[in-house]
């Protein structure tokens, strides 16, 4: 076996644990190969896009509440977008599209996969770095140009893509239909490049988790975050290429005169939808599985109790990931797809509620008979559970094909997706950021301001998005520039105004978070290695950990959730704490 070890250290330029030497500014902060720095880079990038996406949402909400009224300060927009501050329909379509795109591809996905994947995988499995640090760096530096390309599309002639984040062909396949030519092409190109970034990351994560776990870190001792990120990486690896292929076909339709999706010449619009959703549904689980992991970690920590049903939790993650591949058609119930296929997809979609149920009940089981400390991360995690339940249950309405006839493409869907993505993913991200902030920056965020942010977000989030269910049931369509055009929607306008006010407040509370985030980097209380008294390996080393993470590769003796185990003085025990003599094993 020693020969295998030699082969491992083959002469690829930078190998984990190799670079313990001083490096210059550029190598430390910009072209860093250190997974922790890359995580922070992703964090900066994706928070900026989160804020941008939020700003676009604000513009949309203004238009929806006060259609035709000039936006305060909207004079800064060129006449092609909002003459005199009045948002044009084509600009509104770009706003919706780019809001969805930013949020999904440039905010939530990099936050969950890029930030937490990079930060946690080596730290929690006890490795010095990723398997391929250079590739990791490349992954970030591909995401950046992709981001700039996407941003640039606002400033080209015709404006940014306006066919929705789902880019349904043929609307997206020929500029004649929207008046957007280059913008749509930049959108396609940007996502294609971003795809390389994601795949590079996924290859790295999978290899690292499989091969670089510390001695004793067996599969079933892994923290659930790692399980979730590992399975997510597999989904990324297999789903993104499908999108990449579809993007290319759409791009050639736009530019080279092919006709994959252009029905006038024999192309098939539904082929785009099948390809997109064959990618798209696994994608939405990419956006939730890491959140499941983070929340499990933090709920157990807050409740000071082992995670309930660890093994079932792992199985549920795997089951969701697999089932996620066979439900894509539920986005296409009204598309003219073969009705029999619709029935098939309804059954698979219904079944996917089962592993989600396992997750929810095990979280509840974790709290049961715990000793709950309401830390800020815990608050966000508990909010996640309560909001994900709502989002998941609204999914059941849509899964039922006859009911979906009425609510498809209405604000009911918008409510669902924000409940799972904001109430779900984003709250988990807030939990994760506040929880691991000390590991990233060595300091704690200010708890008081964090609590204020939490309470404000929770209340105004619900006020903003819950009424959307009702709007959807009344038949308010999505991607609707001016709801007052329709008689039956005009009378609902007060609700749109209400939602918009709630969004104003919601965003104001995000500013608190933003300021707290920045200021705490310098002013925050010193965290020490283990502020949350947690078990997993990253808490056994200083905050922030040095280059190479561990002085010596740790040896793991137990699972990640041994909270309140009998025989120990404290109510936690680090995974690499050697077994004590007296401890009841």
């Amino acid at each position: 076996m020693s020969q295998t070890a030699i082969k491992t250290d083959w002469d690829f330029p930078a190998f984990a644990g190799e670079g313990h030497h001083e490096v210059g500014f550029i190598r430390t902060y910009i072209f860093s190969t250190d997974h922790k720095m890359i995580a922070k880079q992703f964090l900066a990038m994706s928070l900026i896009f989160l804020a941008l996406g939020g700003t676009l949402a604000l513009l949309m909400r203004w238009q929806l509440a006060f259609p035709g009224q000039p936006l305060p300060g909207g004079g800064i927009f060129p006449d092609t977008m909002a003459p005199g501050g009045i948002i044009l329909p084509e600009f509104y379509n770009s706003l919706v599209t780019m809001h969805g795109t930013f949020m999904i591809f440039f905010a939530i996905m990099p936050l969950l996969v890029g930030v937490f994947g990079n930060l946690l995988i080596p730290l929690q499995i006890g490795a010095g770095d990723m398997a391929f640090p250079k590739l990791n760096m490349l992954s970030f530096w591909l995401a950046v140009p992709a981001g700039f390309m996407m941003l640039a599309s606002f400033f080209v002639e015709g404006g940014a893509a306006g066919a929705g984040w789902t880019a349904y062909a043929p609307l997206s396949a020929d500029g004649e239909f929207t008046g957007v030519y280059l913008g749509q092409q930049l959108w396609l190109g940007s996502l294609f490049i971003l795809g390389f970034s994601s795949i590079a990351g996924a290859v790295n994560y999978i290899t690292t988790v499989i091969n670089m776990r510390a001695p004793g870190m067996t599969w079933f001792r892994l923290p659930l975050t790692i399980w979730a990120l590992f399975v997510t990486a597999i989904l990324v690896l297999l789903a993104i290429p499908i999108l990449a292929g579809a993007l290319i076909m759409l791009l050639t339709d736009q530019t080279l005169g092919t006709a994959f999706f252009l029905p006038a010449e024999g192309g098939e619009p539904l082929l785009w939808q099948h390809l997109f959703w064959f990618f798209g549904h696994p994608e939405v689980y990419i956006l939730i599985l890491p959140a499941f992991g983070i929340v499990s970690e933090i709920l157990a920590n807050g409740a000071r109790k082992p995670i309930f049903g660890y093994f079932a939790m792992v199985l549920a993650i795997i089951a969701i990931a697999f089932l996620g591949w066979i439900v894509w058609g539920h986005h296409m119930f009204m598309s003219g797809m073969n009705p029999l296929l619709g029935t098939t997809f309804m059954f698979t979609t219904m079944v996917i509620a089962v592993p989600s149920a396992i997750k929810v009940f095990n979280w509840l089981g974790t709290l049961w008979k715990g000793n709950i400390h309401f830390t800020v991360p815990f608050l966000h995690a508990a909010a996640f559970v309560s909001l994900f339940i709502i989002g998941g249950l609204s999914g059941i309405f849509m899964a039922s094909t006859p009911v979906d006839i009425h609510i498809h493409d209405t604000y009911f869907i918008v409510a669902h997706l924000h409940y799972v993505l904001f109430g779900g993913s984003l709250f988990a991200i807030f939990a994760g950021i506040t929880y691991w902030y000390p590991k990233m920056f060595g300091r704690l965020m200010n708890t008081t301001w964090n609590r204020i942010h939490f309470v404000g977000s929770f209340i105004f989030y619900n006020l903003a998005f819950f009424p959307m269910h009702g709007l959807g049931l009344e038949g308010m369509m999505r991607r609707l520039y001016d709801p007052t055009q329709y008689g039956w929607l005009a009378e609902l306008q007060p609700w749109n105004v209400f939602i918009t006010y709630a969004v104003f407040a919601l965003i104001a509370f995000q500013v608190i978070f933003f300021l707290n985030f920045i200021i705490s980097m310098w002013r925050g209380e010193d965290a020490g290695p283990n502020p949350w008294r947690a078990n997993s390996l990253e808490w056994s080393i200083p905050s922030p950990p040095p280059h190479g993470n561990f002085e010596r590769i740790p040896v793991v003796h137990r699972g990640a959730y041994e909270y309140s185990a009998p025989g120990w003085d404290e109510d936690f025990v680090l995974q690499n704490e050697p077994p004590s003599e007296e401890a009841v094993q």
């Binding site: 020969q3 295998t4 590739l135 795949i199 690896l237 290429p241």
Partner: protein, 203 residues
């Protein structure tokens, strides 16, 4: 505990990182070609009239020879690997050169074929060539073979890089990861072609 055992993955897969990484990457390639091939299969099912029978438009004998060349390049690649396993540096370089030549020949023949098809009016958005008319045949054909050709071309470049490194003596029986993953990629591209050749040219 010595470093050697400490860096050894505890349960792991017993496959070194680079090789595992390449395998994982190839899985994503499988899905990429799935989306292209899937699109072809579906469009062909939906619009059979836009597609020609085997041999009507495409030059099957030429491509059969070309396929054979690619298969040969796979065997030379695997020979290169076998050589480095025995520390046969000369053999390694010779077989690599052979692979590069065969690989570039494949790309060359494909370009030649493209040029002829273009000259005959079979272009990605061609309407004239197929029975019912329409651009689907050309679109799918160039998409699939083009992306495959791109993979072969990248492979040839990578092979040249491996050759240069081998001349600097970078590989030995203990350090052959670079050759092995090169081989994995190359054989995978060959494997994809075997499938592509069948469904594009023969069915």
């Amino acid at each position: 505990m010595t470093t050697a055992t400490a860096t050894r993955p505890e349960p792991g897969f017993g496959v070194y990182n680079l090789k595992l990484g390449m395998w994982v990457f190839l899985l994503s390639e499988v899905m990429f070609f799935t989306s292209l091939i899937g699109a072809y299969i579906i469009l062909r099912f939906a619009h059979p009239e836009q597609f020609a029978a085997p041999g009507e438009v495409l030059n099957v004998p030429l491509t059969a020879v070309n396929t054979f060349i690619l298969i040969c390049s796979s065997v030379t690649m695997v020979k290169a690997f076998a050589a480095v396993e025995k520390d046969d540096q000369r053999g390694l370089q010779l077989w690599l050169v052979a692979t590069i030549i065969l690989g570039s020949t494949f790309v060359g023949v494909q370009i030649y074929e493209y040029i002829h098809l273009f000259a005959d009016g079979f272009v990605p958005n061609a309407a004239e060539y197929s029975a019912g008319g329409g651009p689907l045949y050309g679109s799918t054909f160039y998409l699939m073979t083009g992306f495959h050709g791109l993979h072969v071309s990248i492979g040839v470049l990578a092979l040249i890089w491996v050759l240069i490194r081998s001349m600097r003596g970078a590989y030995s029986p203990e350090r052959l990861g670079g050759v092995e993953i090169m081989g994995l990629y190359w054989h995978f591209v060959d494997l994809v072609w075997i499938v592509l050749f069948t469904i594009v040219y023969l069915i």
